[in-house]
């Protein structure tokens, strides 16, 4: 059996999830030059928001086809509320402070959100099971795809297309591009930059929420720490793709996901490398790739499209 197509699909799925979260990092960075390290926790709270809708709001036994849209709305609401709240109360007061101050705030906020979910969400002290879409798996050639993965395969490109349209075609989107290029001039041209920044945080949160739901559907469980490692990976993906560039975030995510998967699958087969091929080494190889890319393209894969960083 040739496992390459299956491994590429595995990597694509993992990478799409990184990409959905990476968009939030890249948009916020593009506009306010802040690395929002609490974004992984926004992703996590989004997943818990969806779980709340399913477990505590909807009646037992609701079909997933009805529940899923409502769960997405719940996830987006929770994630957006927390992201906008964080912007208003944690980051805005620090906007003119030295660059390091909001960065440290973000790390503190990340810990605080994790612990808040740990302490107050019912039974969140260990992993909680997440509802799954019935049916599947689907076989295409010798590639197996789970029903939970189909959501991700559909949601990631749709989200991406929506974002591209929003940024390129709408008034607010063009306002975002302008603010990203030069906030002061944009302000002089009559753009309400405060509002634009809030919109950037909110959009990032919605994508993270979609990612959070996809994570739950794919792995069947969520926990309060799920955002930490995934957030780091998504940040890496954003840098790999060229931070500030929304297409770069998605491409960086997919490249990172596929790199990890292929490293797990094939490095051990190279003679003399069997010690360095297991999954526990996949992250090392992913970062080797990141360093190589940054050596030759310090701006990241798509970093040159500065005008698009929004």
């Amino acid at each position: 059996m040739n496992e390459l197509p299956q491994q590429l699909v595995n990597g694509l799925l993992l990478g799409s999830m990184y990409g959905l979260v990476a968009i939030g990092y890249t948009m916020v960075y593009g506009i306010v030059q802040l690395i929002n390290f609490a974004h992984g926790e926004i992703f996590m709270t989004g997943a818990f928001g969806a779980l709340t809708i399913y477990v505590y709001v909807l009646p037992d036994g609701t079909s997933m086809w009805i529940a899923l849209p409502l769960m997405l709305i719940g996830a987006a609401l929770v994630a957006t509320t927390i992201a906008v709240g964080a912007e208003r109360f944690a980051y805005r007061p620090l906007r003119n402070a030295p660059r390091l101050a909001p960065l440290i705030t973000a790390i503190g906020l990340s810990l605080a959100l994790q612990q808040a979910v740990w302490a107050w969400y019912p039974e969140a002290k260990s992993a909680r099971t997440f509802p799954e879409i019935p049916g599947g798996p689907f076989e295409i050639g010798n590639v197996t795809i789970q029903t939970g993965d189909i959501f991700l395969l559909i949601a990631a490109p749709i989200s991406m297309a929506f974002l591209a349209y929003f940024v390129m075609k709408t008034r607010t989107g063009r306002g975002m591009q302008a603010t990203a290029q030069d906030p002061d001039t944009a302000k002089l041209m009559g753009i309400n930059t405060d509002r634009i920044i809030v919109v950037a945080f909110a959009l990032g949160a919605i994508f993270a929420a979609v990612g959070g739901v996809a994570y739950g559907l794919k792995y069947g469980q969520i926990d309060f720490r799920m955002g930490f490692i995934l957030g780091l990976k998504a940040f890496t993906a954003a840098v790999l793709g060229g931070i500030g560039n929304i297409y770069g975030a998605m491409i960086g995510g997919v490249v990172l996901g596929i790199a990890e998967t292929l490293a797990t699958a094939y490095i051990a087969d190279i003679p003399g490398m069997d010690k360095f091929g297991s999954q526990s080494w996949a992250d090392v190889w992913a970062f080797v790739l990141l360093i190589l890319v940054l050596l030759f393209r310090p701006q990241g894969l798509l970093g040159e499209r500065v005008a698009d960083r929004a």
Binding site: E3, T105, A127, Q279
Partner: protein
């Protein structure tokens, strides 16, 4: 502006720090003063009470609590009231060591039950040994904890204060290999571990015996316990053509791993050790887990005549969580400490001597009684003399005992 940002950062960091200390101090309510004229002896309990492994950890804590309550009710030791103080190690060696230091500092603590993880035990052993404070683990199965890093060739007792009621992986791994090869008739294994003390050790002893029996190893893999995505590994397993997977590790990873291996189209059982024999494994692995196997220490508690009272009392005790895989062993570990204290008190005319800790540690070596899991006593390395193991299989969404026995070389 500077002033304001400074305040904001301080506030944010303080909020983070507060929540962290809040969880650090949880369960920190163990008092020290004597009650009602008698002497109070505190038995420390260290286990992961929160996080992924809390299902097992809370079972340990509750069972120790039950033992202490029973001892107080039956007045097991005249004039002594026992009390537990439970600390959370979150499965982290660093947290375990801090807890150990805390127990040592509390003069009323005369023995500690725990921890769950072998890696945590490694960080605690020396702290306890320096203070001559006895530690009895109900769950550690890493052979090197008692017999030293070269346990295969030269056994050396590591710490005089460390004992355990659980069997070691030196027996558990080979026992699983024999069952898989001889009874389940699987000849081609894919071995996966999580690189931790427990998981890697178990996988190694399994592999060695499996090869000796004539089985082949189709592939090996080490997973990263921080992730939940094992799809690449699952695809590798399928490609290897193995007819069984052995996983050395614990249920938070084993559950998703089993699920993803089945999802990848490899309909082969996953076999693990006592670390996966928990009901949470079943919910994490889903319906595909039917046929998965686990070995666990001892005979099934539900079926032992000696454990009837324990099971009934546990139910009557109204504990919210199950006693889990190590409940019986935790009860016995706690009771071993109680027995040792009893011996020391009796030898000293009904009073606790000044060097009670050292005396209790000394007495532990010769403790022998009929416990929940059978006869409890310790050999020259501090290991349990009871070396029973049981194979469990997932049937109809529950663990069902299949075969009990021990490893016969």
């Amino acid at each position: 502006m500077r002033q304001r940002s400074f305040i904001a950062i301080t506030a944010a960091l303080a909020a983070g720090a507060l929540t962290l200390t809040a969880c650090g101090s949880r369960g920190d309510d163990g008092g020290s003063d004597s009650e009602g004229g008698g002497t109070t002896v505190v038995i420390g309990v260290d286990a992961p009470l929160t996080g992924d492994l809390s299902a097992m950890g809370l079972g340990i804590k509750n069972s120790a609590d039950l033992a202490v309550k029973t001892a107080n009710k039956e007045k097991a030791v005249d004039g002594i009231t026992f009390k537990i103080e439970a600390l959370d190690d979150q499965g982290q060696p660093s947290a375990g060591q801090q807890n150990a230091t805390k127990f040592v500092a509390n003069k009323d603590v005369l023995g500690v039950v725990g921890p769950l993880n072998s890696s945590v035990a490694e960080s605690m052993q020396k702290v306890f040994d320096d203070a001559k404070l006895v530690e009895v683990s109900p769950a550690n199965t890493g052979p090197s904890l008692t017999q030293g890093p070269d346990w295969q060739t030269k056994k050396v007792r590591q710490y005089k204060s460390y004992f355990r009621t659980a069997t070691t992986d030196a027996i558990q791994g080979p026992f699983a290999a024999q069952y898989v090869f001889n009874d389940a008739k699987k000849k081609k294994v894919f071995v996966i571990d999580d690189k931790k003390t427990y998981g890697a050790g178990l996988a190694a002893t399994f592999t060695e015996e499996f090869k000796k029996l004539g089985g082949t190893v189709a592939g090996t893999e080490h997973i990263n316990p921080d992730t939940k995505d094992f799809s690449a590994v699952a695809t590798k397993v399928k490609k290897s053509g193995a007819d069984v997977v052995y996983y050395g590790g614990e249920y938070p990873q084993a559950g998703p791993l089993s699920k993803q291996i089945k999802a990848a189209g490899a309909n082969i059982p996953l076999v693990g050790g006592d670390g996966i024999k928990d009901d949470n494994f079943l919910s994490l692995a889903g319906a595909g887990a039917t046929g998965d196997l686990a070995t666990s220490v001892g005979a099934p508690v539900e079926e032992l005549p000696s454990a009837k009272d324990f099971v009934a009392d546990y139910k009557a005790g109204g504990y919210k969580e199950e006693y889990s895989a190590y409940g019986g062993y935790s009860y016995d570990s706690t009771w071993a400490i109680i027995e040792a204290v009893k011996k020391v008190v009796e030898d000293n005319d009904g009073k606790l001597p000044d060097d009670a800790r050292a005396k209790v540690t000394e007495a532990m070596q010769n403790v022998s009684f009929d416990g929940v899991t059978g006869k409890v006593s310790f050999d020259e390395y501090g290991d349990a003399t009871n070396k029973q193991l049981t194979v469990y299989a997932v049937k109809n969404g529950a663990w069902a005992a299949v075969k009990s026995g021990t490893y016969t070389g």
